[in-house]
């Protein structure tokens, strides 16, 4: 029986702790007992895989699928999905969701007094190509207030969700926009101690993917966990 090769542990400070008191929702939901370290087994180094056809051909364009065009500034968000060993991850599903241009989510719990857009749902999917590339067309999400503390506002963001090749590589994160003045005051953006790791959540404006007279381009690469050295025979 081959021993399974572990995935690399995160560099200290680059992932959030469960408890981050400035983010009030974490106080009653963060586990209080230490997590139990376990070795990787076949259960964690395998994981769900999906046929690329599960994603509809135009599911990566959030401006389509309605009677008209959504309001707001059209943007193109693209990038690569790599592992920590710089290998591109092909055929990986990327899911995104976001608020509309006015900062309102199409969700019954969102009671923010900003208009819904009948032409925007805010949900998209893409599959990475052989080089790990993905691309979304969407509109720039608005900032919005929340009740975490007095006069609390979320920095503009797009939620990202990726499976990668194994249960161990699952990642859910958020992408931010360069120059957003709300980032220093957003406890969710700031939940990770390491400043460089935090700043890697900020996309970069990109001329190359900006389409003339159509849409600005933003680049956002995602790094999933990489493997330790290859398995050894027991």
């Amino acid at each position: 029986m081959k021993r399974v090769a572990a995935y690399r542990a995160p560099y200290p400070g680059t992932q959030p702790n469960h408890l981050h008191p400035p983010y009030v929702s974490s106080i009653k939901r963060a586990p209080t007992k230490p997590q139990v370290p376990i070795p990787y087994t076949l259960s964690e180094v395998t994981g769900p895989s999906f046929k690329p056809e599960i994603v509809a051909p135009k599911a990566n364009d959030l401006t389509l699928g309605h009677h008209g065009e959504p309001l707001g500034e059209r943007i193109i968000v693209s990038g690569r999905v790599l592992d920590e060993n710089s290998r591109p991850l092909a055929n990986t599903i990327v899911e995104i969701w976001q608020a509309n241009a006015a900062g309102r989510y199409r969700h019954e719990v969102d009671q923010h007094n900003a208009p819904l857009d009948p032409n925007f749902t805010g949900s998209g999917q893409a599959v990475t190509d052989a080089e790990g590339r993905y691309r979304f067309v969407t509109i720039r999400p608005g900032e919005y207030p929340w009740r975490n503390h007095y006069n609390a506002w979320r920095a503009a963001h797009i939620h990202f969700s990726l499976f990668g090749p194994a249960f161990a590589t699952r990642l859910v994160t958020q992408m931010y926009f360069p120059g957003d003045p709300l980032m220093p005051f957003d406890p969710i953006f700031n939940c990770t101690a390491d400043e460089k790791a935090r700043n890697r959540l900020i996309s970069a404006f990109d001329w190359e993917t900006t389409m003339p007279e159509h849409a600005l381009g933003y680049k956002f690469d995602l790094i999933l966990r990489g493997r330790e050295a290859t398995p050894m025979e027991d």
Binding site: S26, V36, T41
Partner: protein
């Protein structure tokens, strides 16, 4: 030069918008072998209140103990009707329900078989990176020697084992308790 994994962030309260398209609360397709089970439960916060905005993801082997994944090279059959993936949101009342089969045993560390189990990711508002746990099965003799269960202090192992439901054969109850004396065991996989 190696890269560092992207920082995890919470799914927030509105994940339904992005996740619904791939929800799966019934893992059992046509012609699938194995013992049918329904696993249901709730997720309790630090005040003991059921969480109405969480989602579980499930990964498991089929009844032969085979994962539908290229890294599972065991000489065991796959079944086309069983992929082993589930994604189940809790309802507004805070309940989740999952229909699946009891998986077969899969290899564990030191070449020993693991007891049948599901691996689980838990996501919700307020949780900054996913919580990783497992569901084991009641009346399962392999539990006693399971490598992973034996890494858990004995008094907490029961949080990982689903319970039978009186009067409802095939229905198991398994709850997630986020804080307190009955806190569910969560595993550290590094992330």
């Amino acid at each position: 030069m190696s890269l560092q994994a992207t920082t995890s962030q919470t799914v927030g309260p509105f994940f339904k918008i992005g996740f619904d398209w791939l929800n799966r609360d019934n893992l059992v397709g046509e012609g699938v072998s194995g013992e049918r089970v329904t696993i249901q439960g709730r997720i309790f916060d630090g005040d003991g209140v059921p969480v109405p905005d969480a989602i579980l993801e499930i990964w498991q082997a089929n009844a032969h103990g085979k994962y539908d994944h290229p890294e599972d090279t065991q000489d065991k059959p796959l079944e086309p009707g069983f992929k082993g993936y589930g994604r189940v949101p809790v309802t507004a009342q805070g309940v989740f329900r999952l229909a699946t089969i009891k998986p077969g045993p899969v290899p564990g560390p030191n070449g020993k078989e693991q007891a049948p189990h599901l691996v689980i990711s838990v996501f919700m508002r307020g949780v900054l990176r996913r919580l990783v746990t497992r569901i084991y099965f009641p009346d399962e003799p392999r539990n006693a020697a399971d490598f992973i269960l034996n890494l858990v202090e004995p008094s907490r192992r029961s949080t990982l084992i689903a319970k039978k439901t009186a009067g409802a054969p095939g229905t198991l109850e398994w709850n997630v308790v986020l804080q307190g004396p009955d806190e569910t065991v969560f595993f550290d996989l590094g992330l």
